[in-house]
Symmetry: C2
Subunit: 379 residues, 2 copies
């Protein structure tokens, strides 16, 4: 691709409806319609799905993970194999997380200094160092379209002092990440707002990141145990400090309701392991709310999860069969429910986008929540 043909990384805001926003992020590997849900492909696979299926559900972008991929197969190894897109067979955009969250949640022994995070691999116990510069280098080697700064994540609860310290360090790491990112046509670098559930800290973080300047802004450190009410509050007091002309990404969120409520508060992008993880454990997210397929009442139910869905996993398999597969511990049960959940999430995003375009997001939000509550009619 010659320089003239390389698309600029850009964000276009098409419409707003209240705080909800309809937009497009353009990247080297194509467009991302926002609000967007990004299926998580931690180690280079959206667990239990073929990437064709992921694409067919309407996903424009998937996630990869710096922490996991640096440990196995290794960033240089992926680069030698032609980059992450080629390695896994995905032609659309990829966002890679920086590894900050996984260092907190997965590695056993970790030490955070001004220079870098040092941690033990959860796979083989070997010691690794990850600096802001190395995190960016890894993401460049992977060839991801949206590259996240390295940040320090905290578990909840934590003290305000710890939150401030981690936020300030993340801000200094943001600056180093930005410099390390350099200029990569068609690719974007996102800063991550930290500061726990403290308004002052979140504002300081957001202002600091804006003065560095990023292609997009993420809100990190939420959905770590604080509960939905505090999470939404944190979004509310953070959002006004984010630039309107850049995409906002709420990291690691969440349930369909979390997403709906966060879109209502101005969020553009989401990722979460919930649809695939829940699917592997027998739980389906549908138009009719959550359905636990392991429940005995589904054993004789010949209805599919949602007869009106274009996704075969939702419309072509009976609940009785899904129940049988889950009770029998069969791979196909996990495959079908992971697929069904990703499909439902994407149809929810499509519904959100359409309702914003038509200026009826509030009505859509109310109807959707009402339908979840109403549930499905008994068999």
């Amino acid at each position: 691709m010659t320089r003239a043909e390389t698309p600029e990384f850009s964000f276009t805001l098409h419409a707003t409806d209240g705080a909800a926003r309809l937009g497009t992020v353009n990247t080297l590997h194509g467009a991302i319609r926002t609000p967007a849900f990004m299926p998580v492909g931690t180690v280079g696979t959206v667990k239990g799905l073929y990437l064709d299926q992921v694409e067919d559900t309407g996903a424009d972008i998937i996630l990869g993970n710096t922490y996991h991929l640096m440990l196995r197969p290794g960033a240089e190894e992926v680069a030698k194999l032609g980059g992450l897109h080629k390695f896994i067979g995905w032609k659309r955009p990829i966002l890679t997380d920086s590894g900050g969250f996984q260092i907190m949640s997965l590695s056993k022994i970790r030490k955070i200094t001004e220079q870098a995070a040092t941690f033990q691999s959860h796979i083989d116990g070997r010691k690794h160092e990850l600096s802001p510069e190395r995190a960016m280098e890894i993401q460049r080697l992977l060839g991801s379209d949206i590259q996240m700064q390295l940040d320090q994540c905290l578990e909840y609860p934590h003290t305000e002092k710890d939150a401030e310290k981690a936020m300030q360090l993340s801000l200094r790491w943001a600056d180093r990440s930005r410099k390390a990112f350099g200029s990569q046509p068609g690719r974007g670098n996102f800063g991550i707002v930290q500061g726990g559930i403290n308004e002052r800290l979140r504002r300081t973080s957001a202002e600091g990141l804006k003065s560095i300047g990023f292609e997009g802004y993420a809100i990190g450190g939420l959905a770590v145990g604080e509960g939905q009410a505090l999470m939404l509050q944190a979004i509310e007091f953070t959002e006004p400090h984010l630039p309107k002309d850049r995409p906002r990404y709420l990291m690691g969120v969440g349930t369909p309701e979390d997403i709906l409520e966060s879109v209502a508060r101005g969020i553009d992008m989401f990722d979460c392991v919930l649809p695939t993880r829940s699917g592997r454990h027998g739980q389906a997210f549908t138009r009719f709310g959550k359905i636990n397929l392991r429940n005995a009442k589904h054993a004789t139910d010949t209805r599919p999860l949602d007869p009106e869905s274009p996704c075969p996993a939702l419309s072509c398999y009976s609940r009785a069969y899904l129940h049988h597969l889950m009770r029998s511990g069969e791979l196909l049960g996990m495959m079908l429910l992971s697929w069904a959940n990703i499909a439902y999430y994407q149809s929810l995003m499509q519904g959100i986008r359409q309702s914003i375009a038509e200026g009826r997001f509030e009505a859509f939000r109310a109807e959707t929540k009402e339908q979840w509550k109403r549930g499905d009619v008994p068999a």
Copy 2:
């Protein structure tokens, strides 16, 4: 379907090449091209594959299992849900094994009397009884196209006396099974030749079954630890006693080489868990022989398993990626290798059928074995 439209269960022998046979089995749910490999769908799913994929590999028929399905979800339950075809979403023929083998291999406490087998479920320890009549009733409730008699299987090694006793009991059960099967247009009932690796016993069993009369004849009790040489010998001395105008099914076999050698000895039908089970453990069966994807040498190999295969699992994913998925314990690795193996098995069967049709089976057999030995060219 009116009676006039119901196809008769039939077997047509189109050609022979040495002892190898090319034929078609016709059933209520369509034709089965023989020699046929039947993917195993023990509990109503070919592990790790969508049934569309199974069909696309060229499989005409899959297996279900009486033992597993009677325990979960239950034969009457499947019947209420519209039968096994509808329950799992497979429109082509299904063969159901009778459960004899699983009672031997899976259940803990078992008692075999003249009347029936009594055993404990491997799932919850509950006691169950399976008589020849009940085994047929279950298979009728499942709605399978080819229904196997209940037999008594023995582990290897065993004494000749035990083999004779089990064979004679299986013969008496064959008679009861046949009566219980009754008349089911478009469906077939297969007897099972037992008798271990003893020529006299196998002959007695085959003659006894022939005088009862079945739509097809299986050879049971092989591939239970006796080794390939003894297995092939047992096929050789059993085959002359099987009627030429009925399909012969070698139960639970085997490796690609076992299949090739057994076709050369007059076998028409096969089933085995090997392609899916091996796939879940990282082993691929290919034109180039067995490939263990967990082996470190594949980590940097960008070649697919077989660039010339029409199956995406064989031709569209690099060995490096498959290696990474298996090392990471990812579902997609198991899915892809199970799919690749079923696809290879079906392409082998297609090659076998075509070579018999063209009168060059011996050459095909030699070339295929030669290619397995030669392996793939190093990367």
